[in-house]
Symmetry: C2
Subunit: 264 residues, 2 copies
DNA sequence: GTGAAAGCGCTAACAA
DNA sequence: TTGTTAGCGCTTTCAC
């Protein structure tokens, strides 16, 4: 099937190519009802589909949203990706998904690729503080939003949960229910970076314990950063000789969110 | 930061715009080493990034791969999407992901949107036989591949597992291990469509039972099409009065695959 | 309300 | 090996 272009439609409808555009885009100029009908009929008869690439080229904007996540196989990010896709779809946008696999290089790779594709917007669930990523973002003054994590080198609008507050609330809640103390199972704490959800959870737990006058020493447990190991460590902990009376573990589930805007 | 175009680079390097293209694309014409150096230097100095949309427009091909799945939140499809993305990324392609959410309309929507975006290729994990989807595919003679499911109205290259054979093997295996009979937990069997993995699994189980001279009546159980309900039904079954001696349940995990090519 | 035409930034003939 | 230039299919300004 030979490609049908806007010119074919115009010819068939006996109008100019501009009018065809006006009909397709509902603007920017008005079109007489009768003309519009002729154009629509021609479009249907010819099976015309506008070429989105050409549209993007001429209008200088795409209908693409880029989404970079550490690993979309993880239920938390899978859920996130699905939600983003749904919201985008409702607004006539398509979503490019990239997995950074927790690697700086891949994060930068997708940043570069997506921005080069002139995405209308980019959502970045950063996998950690990365100077190269920050530099890459600066190079294109692009519309980007950080989600879930707010690594310090990148200074953009961010949508994050109140991780410190949440963990603090949870811990306080358990204490109020009579637990003598609360242990915390908090991921591998290497460089407790600000803006890292797990670090923030641990911080929230620490605050709640401290405000209750309880020591935290020896009550923070760690496991590799995935559900299987966390589960195993949790079981060991609960079955061991020093079974804690209560335990908080950072849940990876998006609920409410707060929005931080950079000074700019 | 004002947009840097290829023309700026050419001017800066003191060459023509064509040479800049030759350098960027490593062809189609050779470039003298010295000239190449000047161009590369100019690119770096100016922070030039080729506009992928313009490239696509001019070359009439994008670096986009479309992937349509029923629901990327499900581990099976999440795994699949990740694998596709990884393979695409290795080949310099980006992946557009669309969830059909098991709805014809959404499947067609993404088919139309992705093909309109002139994706270089499209992978469709169909959510079921759909005449409209088939029609949409025919409308664009596009490069598409069916994955996991091969609904009858769509006649394209398909990559699927041997679902009948797999279930048959599993059932036979259990019987050879001495099970008096094998029950099957097989999803909601509405219209046992050919090419639907679960229908095929059931068929495989049926064949193995039949070849062993065993009746299947009353031994096929059904549950809604998700892991939670399947788990519940499975538990009930195993705890009930008619606990079957052995049970096969279609696993949703990709292993080996066979490739069917249409007559064309 | 409609049409002519100038780009959008790049690729790839074709010419030199 | 390098340069010139005609498009790619569409949007949008501007004149009618």
């Amino acid at each position: 099937m030979a490609k049908v272009t806007r010119d074919d439609v115009a010819r068939r409808a006996g109008t100019s190519t501009a009018v065809v555009s006006y009909v397709i885009n509902n603007g920017p100029r008005p079109v007489a009802p009768a003309t519009r009908e002729r154009v629509l009929a021609a479009i249907k008869e010819l099976g015309y589909r506008p070429d989105r690439v050409a549209q993007a080229m001429a209008s200088r904007r795409t209908d693409l949203i880029g989404l970079i996540v550490p690993d979309a196989r993880q239920p938390f990010f899978a859920e996130m990706a699905h939600a983003v896709e749904q919201a985008a779809s409702e607004r006539g946008k398509m979503v490019l998904v990239g997995n950074s696999d927790y690697a700086d290089a891949r994060e930068v790779h997708y940043l570069r690729a997506f921005l080069g594709m002139r995405v209308a917007g980019l959502i970045l669930v950063s996998q950690g503080p990365s100077e190269t990523a920050a530099a890459e973002i600066d190079a294109w003054d692009a519309r980007i939003v950080l989600l879930h994590r707010r690594p310090s080198p990148i200074d953009d609008v961010a949508v994050v949960t109140d991780d410190v507050g949440g963990a603090q609330l949870a811990t306080r809640h358990l204490l109020e229910h009579g637990a003598p103390y609360v242990a915390c199972l908090g991921g591998t704490e290497q460089t407790p970076a600000e803006g890292d959800p797990v670090s923030d959870h641990v911080e929230g737990w620490r605050r709640a314990m401290t405000e209750a006058g309880l020591p935290t020493a020896g009550r923070l447990f760690q496991s590799p950063y995935n559900r299987y190991d966390a589960y195993r460590v949790g079981l060991e902990l609960l079955a061991g000789p020093d079974r804690p009376p209560a335990l908080v573990q950072p849940l990876r589930r998006l609920r409410s969110a707060s929005c931080a805007r950079p000074a700019s």
